[in-house]
Amino acid sequence: MTDQHRPLQSENRSEHIIDALQQARKTRSPVYINGGGSKQHLMGRNCDYTVLDVSEHRGIVDYQPQELVITARAGTPLVDIIAVLAAEGQSLSFEPPLFNGIATLGGTLACNLSGPARPWSGSIRDMVLGVQLINGKCEQLNFGGKVIKNVAGYDVSRLQAGALGTLGVLCEVSLKVLPRAEKTLTLCYDMSAPEAVRHMNQRAGQPKPLSGAFWLNGQLHLRVSGAASAVDSTVVQWGGEIVTSDDILWEQLREMTLPFFKDTGALWRFSVQSSAEVRLDFGTTLIDWCGAQRWVHGEHPAEALQQAAVEAGGHVSLFRGGDRNTEVRSPLNSVEQGLQQRLKKSFDPDGILNPGRLYSWL
């Protein structure tokens, strides 16, 4: 690693984290794990515990551009990582939201947050190669590694994606990174939501470098990225209006700063089959991820939304706002609930890590 890769702040605070967890375990008082704090009011249920601040545990530990692998401490802001990658022409292909620059690597993995490229370039869950974590027994453990293929033992690294820190305090994360696209263009089409869902899925079935597809307010946007020659030829073949300043549009979609997201009330996230029929009875819908992620606002009965999600082959969660003291995700059946509880216990027998953040019973 050359000096130019070294971020300003680099500190190993794992001893401190272990001490804090030992204290929590001794007193049986759970901790709320906090990095940058950007997702404190998103995704999870309300938790009122002593804050375990991990934001100072930061710094890039290793980056080998030719290996396509970066390892950083969990408290490292994503913006630092992206800057280091950009200097080598590489990027985080899952396009995570940066939330004003405070989103951290660990929080992004814990929340499994990925941006518009998700259906094509994968999620952070897909890109994670290894983690170092401290479990509820205060043991510092390493799983996975810094190589792209590794099937030794259970895939504990990927299991952390979306676990909201309930299985361990993430210390270090190794990710697969990819070259940045040579060229990107965005096409816009006027069409209804049902037409758009059909159209984007048909386009995704063609061997073209599609890298984004979202619909809002009667407009479908398709993004193509990759080798310049492939992008240019695709745009010619597909037609449509070329959008200028398109990077701002995709950034606003990724950062959830489009006017659609301004409403501060309940925001629901559907994760469904990409081609599923569009439900128009829940009000204005933003359709992203080629149809696989759909956002709606408002106070709807959770059961009605859950039923709609099941019919569309997926699930729904209360992403932001609303009543966060109740369950905020689709229910699981009793067999799966039992497995999830036993799994939690295997990492955190005393329930000190963000208990109740995912589900009240977990």
Partner: protein
């Protein structure tokens, strides 16, 4: 074909997977024809506390499907139907015994395919692929099995049905699908898989280059990645592998080369043209001694034929071979290969290397004669050294073949006791009586000290 096999002689074909060094006979082989039958088998075994070992086509390379002498071998090969292909959503719902290749064949009329392509794809089953998280030659660009599946139907050890994952791109709660994928049949029995299908690329082309040393070939691999190209496949073969493959397949490989690279790019025709030119230029810059760009599909297939035939080609040179599966950071390639050559002399056993160079997955093929017990012992010791070497340079003991029985001993060189205990706790959460594929995948706590003391051989319960 009958559904229950009791006679030892009829059980013989099931005594091992493709790693025949390890074999045993089960109490019974059962071949259920319906998911309900699988469920019944599991319920009975759960009641009687009988071990259950799942098996697909038996193409595994780590003895993961070796029968348990006191258990049931649950062979899922009769569950071999493709249930549904959803063209618009680009998914296929299939039973676990469906072969990997047949999914792509069924999807081909829609111009779609299933991307992971292990070498055994003609025979290996999707259920086995999920259990091993199989890769193939295209995983640098298209990912492993875990990246290409959406949902699994699973039976727990008690026989309870469960659907994990979803038709969306994530699921609520813990990602059990990530945990089940690659879990080697230790956490549940897979009864249905929904896979993602990708559009068939417009064009694919292979650039083959010869090099006069493995280190220059390794540098050329790094140069391609540094140029921002992610090839669909990037394979390396060393001298012995080249010669064996060329004798077998007459693919047009340069026999005099110390190493060759096979680099495939796919995409739109414009993109492929752009990238093949860039790759050819980079290979020349890095001292390629020969260069071939596939003219057409026939030549592309021929260039791959040699690589895909590398294992059987080595099989012609030696009565037996032992295929290793360590992964290493690519920057360590030259060092690791030279160490392997040194060990080859030390153990007096020849070795040929094929390498998924794009993703650092090395497959040394150790040649030996299994009729000589001393040679078996030397081959295993040599193999164990290679795996330890992989770990010592920052790699791991298995990239895609799994731990099975074979690599239980090396698990202790990759993981600490606490880490192994965490694995065991996870196993307990799913299978507290340890009835699913016992003695595979993860070393059992109480035997941990023995594993650290003993070489890897027959350490299953």
């Amino acid at each position: 074909m009958e559904c229950i096999i009791e006679e030892a002689e009829s059980q013989r074909p099931f005594e091992c997977d493709a790693l025949s060094l390890y074999s045993d006979l089960p109490l019974l082989v059962v071949l259920p024809e319906t998911v309900e039958q699988v469920q019944q088998v599991l319920r009975v075994c759960h009641q009687l506390c009988v071990p259950v070992v799942a098996r697909g086509a038996g193409t595994g390379l780590s003895a993961g499907a070796m029968p348990h002498p006191e258990g049931i071998l649950l062979c899922l090969s009769k569950l071999d139907r493709i249930l549904d292909i959803d063209v618009l959503a680009r998914t296929a719902r299939v039973q676990p015994g469906v072969s990997n290749l047949s999914i792509s064949e069924a999807a081909a009329s829609h111009r779609l395919y299933y991307a992971p392509d292990p070498s055994s794809q003609i025979a290996c089953t999707i259920g086995g692929n999920v259990s091993e998280n199989s890769g193939g030659v295209h995983c640098l660009k298209y990912g492993l099995t875990v990246h290409n599946i959406l949902s699994l139907n699973v039976l727990t050890v008690e026989g309870e049905a469960l659907t994990i994952g979803s038709m969306g791109l994530d699921s609520p709660g813990y990602d059990l699908m990530a945990l089940l994928t690659g879990s080697e049949g230790l956490l549940g029995i897979i009864t249905e898989v929904t896979v993602r299908l990708l559009p068939l690329p417009e064009l694919a082309q292979v650039v083959m280059a010869g090099f006069d040393s493995v280190s220059t070939a390794g540098d050329a691999v790094g140069a391609i990645i540094a140029a921002g190209i992610i090839p669909a496949g990037l394979e390396m073969m060393d001298r012995l592998a080249i010669q064996a493959a060329e004798d077998f397949a007459q693919a047009g490989y340069p026999r005099e080369a110390a190493a060759i690279l096979l680099c495939e790019v796919d995409g739109t025709s414009e993109e492929v043209a752009q990238h093949t030119q860039e790759i050819a230029r980079l290979f020349e810059q890095h001292g390629a001694t020969s260069l071939t760009i596939s003219r057409d599909e026939a030549q592309r297939a021929l260039l791959w034929k040699g690589r895909k035939a590398a294992f059987p080609a080595i099989g012609r040179l030696s009565p037996d071979y032992y295929c290793m599966d360590g992964t290493i950071p690519r920057s360590q390639l030259s060092f690791v290969l030279n160490e392997i050559y040194r060990l080859s002399e030390q153990y007096a056993l020849p070795v040929a290397n094929v390498f998924h160079a794009g993703d650092g997955n090395l497959h040394p093929l150790i040649m030996f004669d299994a009729s000589d017990p001393m040679a078996i012992h030397r081959a295993e010791a040599f193999g164990a050294k290679i795996l330890e070497l992989s770990v010592s340079v920052g790699g791991c003991i298995t990239g895609e073949h799994g731990v099975g029985v074979e690599k239980l001993g090396q698990m202790t060189s990759q993981f600490t006791t606490q880490e192994l205990l965490q694995f065991e706790d996870i196993k307990h959460a799913f299978d507290p009586a340890l009835n699913l594929n016992p003695g595979k995948g993860i070393p059992i706590l109480k035997r941990c000290q023995e594993y650290r003391a003993l070489p890897a051989r027959h350490q299953h319960d």
